[in-house]
Amino acid sequence: MSALASAHSMLNSGSLKARMAMTSILGAVSFTVIIALILMGLGSSYWMVIAISVATYATMGLGLNVVLGYAGLLDMGYAAFFAIGAYTSAILTVNLEWNYFLSIPIAIIVTGLAGIVIGYPTLRLRPDYLAIVTIGFGEVVRTAFNNWQYVGASRGLYPLPNPELFGFKFDTPDLQLLLTAVLLGLVIAFVNRLGISHIGRAWRAIRDDDFAAEVVGIPTLRLKIGAYVMGGAIGAVAGAIFASRSVAIDPSNFTLFVSVQILMIVVLGGLGSVRGVLLAATIFVVLPEILREVQEYRTLIFSLLVIVMVKYRPSGLIGERVSPDAAALPSLNAVGSGDTATVAEPPGPPEPVELPGKEPRVARGEALLRIEKVTQQFGGLTALDDVSLTVRSGEVLGLIGPNGAGKTTLVNAITGVRKPTSGEIWLGDEKLTGTKPHRIAKHGVARTFQAIRLFPQLSAIDNVIAGEYQAAHLGVVDALLRPRRERRHQAETVERAMALLDQLGIADSALRTPAELSYADRRRIEIARALASDPELLILDEPAAGMNPSEKRDLVEILRSIADRGIGILLIEHDMPLVTRISDRAAVLDQGRMIALGKPDAVLRDQRVIDAYLGSASKGDDDGSA
């Protein structure tokens, strides 16, 4: 069990600990405060105010990083959050004479609510539409502040009071820097915590392929809104920092151009990389101060840098390093090279992975999945015509049929990708029709795709872990406030994922990205990802495609052992010998109709089935023989 050992060593590796330090509030705040103290020691208020500018941009960058870097949502109106945060804080302190520190949580809440209001309708749109809608949102918000007399309309609010705590005024640059450093430290800690949490992992899966993420059980819409709202909340903190130190705010501080600048900082730093954003924000603010000539060319230089970066180094100045696996590379190298010698040998009989006990929905051999009179029409075309089918617990049911027979359409209907025109689908006593894909996954249906859909930027093990999301009994509060629980959860998920990869014989590829793997290995990762959700029904869409005979033999054994655990398997496959060898029963679809069902051998000898396959090749002969 070298792979399991490596999973342990991964978690114990030193670099991981180092990274975890920045998820500690104390650690991150000390880091920023020490830098602040050094600058204060130098005694130049000029450099202190520059540091405050850096912190403002860095905070905004970190907030956008949650939206864009973690979740992959192109928000081009991020300045709107910055504006709402700054204005909320300013209204509370100026118009209502609240204490500044009380205004910060309110600013966060108001911005979060704005995020929900705008995010809910727009985040279901295609990602490119989101970009344009968020630009619109940014402009609408700015126009609103520009015309709202209560906040001074275009003139803005002036003067804003200095922050005050128990009569102690933060009225000099050094004190303001200290305050800003504490806020930035908190933001760094929370952003890091989000990044390593189960939510952060799910966000990255969404960023890579939101459709696949939904189907493996990640509630994508809710998590996108979550990213948008949390990014917005951090923008509110940046807004509050800005409001406290710039004495005046007016709508011209929050233009589209500001959104674009923050976007550039995040891309330059590296999508998802906290340290990258900090570095990029520093360069963005400080470089023009050192080299005055740069000031004039800043936008040009940074636009060109972004173009070059995205083209040649998409990971940014400092690529994100949040998954534990990347940090554990050295320890795995040893394991990997050890295993290369044995790669040619078929893996031994797979040992079942211990999955957390879940009460099976139905007894072994009982009907698990019931498809009842399902019809699916696209326009005038009937893709499924009154199909009924049952998959029993613990059986392998082969679903065959010529191309275009409706096999994948049926899978899409089961997994909630598309609601059938009529008919119902049940899993045990749970009705699946009309349910969202991620709920169906949570109910215990997992699938693979005909055209493999792995998360391309995630390593194999992270792909598998994405499948475990729906089993995580953790929430936002855990992600933000209970890093220890998150770490424990992560240790468990890594261990289980490694065990699954090991079972499928690809443990030594755990840290590679899909692009680095062979086609067959990618299929195996997809199967491991499907198994990771601890399904009761596993749907495999042509899993053997691209596999050589020995790999197919392994696959048969793996599938057999899965079925032996009481999991129902719906197997779509073109490889007839494989279907015959593995299936308990076989069903045949032709032109959307179920034309045969029974023992595989018998079904394949059925005249109608033969006709269907021949017929799909040459329609003309069909009529004569019928």
Binding site: S44, S45, V49, S53, R155, A248, E296, I318, N333
Partner: protein, 408 residues
């Protein structure tokens, strides 16, 4: 298939590059941070800070401000300076933006200047004022920022050369009353801070002190090209005059479409609409009797002897015509120099602030004298129309605040 070890090696040059960038950066920041100037300012050259937008969208005006400042000290330095001390300029770029404004202000404070002259965008000026006031009320002679808050916030260290936005509105309304004789006016702005505040103040002025009925009050979107829908609406609302408080890039097309639609009402532009491009785009409009622009006495419009000298000197020294607002910076510098000359031995902030407020002199932009807030007591607005080649003053505001024919 690349193994993990090779892919890591591939990243190494990047790491080195990034590490060296970070290191260079840290070193230069440290060097710069330690290089503060702690010298006493009672000997050596007199350092004067210039706060201006040297980058960003209004950088050309920043350059004009810098040029005007240089011209103002030229003769003083040529005569051996004040009390043997030459004046040295220290220019800080506020980029017309709040964060940069604070940084630039702190830089000037760190460099130990005796006073700061400048301020163009109030976005940058207001936060900078806060910094100066915190630094023992470092004297700040504001040249071009017209936001009323600059002198309304109760700071001790401010005097201002240009007219306030809320000075403009009464002058605009008086112009409508005295010269245009308007009874129904349409006021249009462009949603920007300056234009909205002039428009709002006009409305307030009319409500408080009487004037034409406002039949239409709205904005256009800056950057659009077609304003006919708005122009038409103004006609429909029955206005006899359209007053536009926005900026010249929009005023050009507005004037042009106003004239091509053959509309019946008068067209008047506010202080930010004067620019040669307006004549270029709307040659028919700018010579029309019903067209006029209310403006500050900008460098090209001033008629006095000093103003002609200023224009000639500027052109000779820098090779081009002065920008519109540099002349206020020039007068601001002259005001500061006068205050310094009064007692060159005592340049403490307190003494200098006191003397600045009391300064009286004849500047290029007219008589300079400050009220207790630091604003000029009388402000000489002009109303201009084109004679086919240049804008020429037709009317001006007298000492009593009423408009009359401009004495040419």
């Amino acid at each position: 298939m690349s193994s993990p070890s090779t892919s890591r090696e591939g990243k190494r040059p990047w790491k080195a590059i990034i590490a060296s960038i970070v290191a260079m950066f840290a070193v230069s920041v440290l060097v710069a941070a330690c290089g503060g100037d702690d010298s006493d300012n009672s000997t050596g050259p007199i350092k004067v800070g210039i706060l201006a937008p040297m980058s960003g969208s209004v950088a050309s005006d920043g350059e004009d401000i810098q040029n005007a400042s240089e011209m103002a000290i030229e003769s003083v330095n040529a005569d051996g300076g004040i009390d043997g001390r030459k004046i040295e300029l220290n220019v800080a770029d506020d980029a017309c933006e709040a964060q940069q404004g604070v940084q630039a202000a702190e830089k000037l404070v760190q460099d130990n200047v005796v006073a700061v002259v400048g301020g163009y965008c109030s976005d940058a000026t207001l936060p900078a004022m806060e910094v100066f006031s915190r630094s023992d009320n470092l004297p700040f002679v504001v040249s071009v920022s017209s936001n009323p808050d600059v002198t309304e916030s109760g700071f001790e260290n401010i005097v201002r050369l240009i007219g306030r936005d809320d000075f403009e509105a009464p002058a605009d309304v008086a112009y409508l009353n005295d010269v245009v004789g308007s009874e129904k006016v349409a006021i249009v702005h462009d949603n920007t801070e300056f234009a909205v505040s002039v428009a709002d103040n006009m409305k307030k002025e009319i409500e408080e002190n009487g004037g034409p009925e406002i039949v239409y009050f709205d904005a256009v979107q800056p950057g659009s090209n077609d304003y006919r829908a708005m122009l038409d609406r103004v006609e429909r609302e029955g206005a006899d005059t359209l007053f536009y408080t926005g900026f010249y890039p929009e005023f050009g097309p507005i004037a042009r479409q106003w004239s091509s639609l053959g509309l019946d009402y008068n067209l008047v532009g506010g202080t930010s609409t004067i620019n040669s491009t307006v004549s270029e785009l709307a040659p028919d409009a700018v010579t029309d009797d019903r067209f006029s622009i209310v403006t500050y006495p900008t460098a090209l419009l001033l008629q006095g002897k000093e103003a002609k000298q200023y224009r000639a000197d500027y052109k000779e020294k820098f090779g081009n015509d002065p920008g519109p607002y540099g002349v206020f910076q020039y007068d601001a510098m002259k005001t500061l120099i006068a205050a310094i000359e009064e007692d060159p031995a005592d340049l403490s902030h307190e003494a200098l602030n006191e003397r600045l407020k009391a300064t009286e002199l004849e500047g290029v932009t007219g008589s300079i004298k400050f009220d207790e807030k630091g604003d000029r007591t009388a402000f000489p607005y002009l109303a201009v129309r084109s004679d086919g080649t240049d804008f020429v003053p037709e009317y001006s505001v007298g000492e009593d605040g009423t408009w009359g024919e401009s004495g040419k």
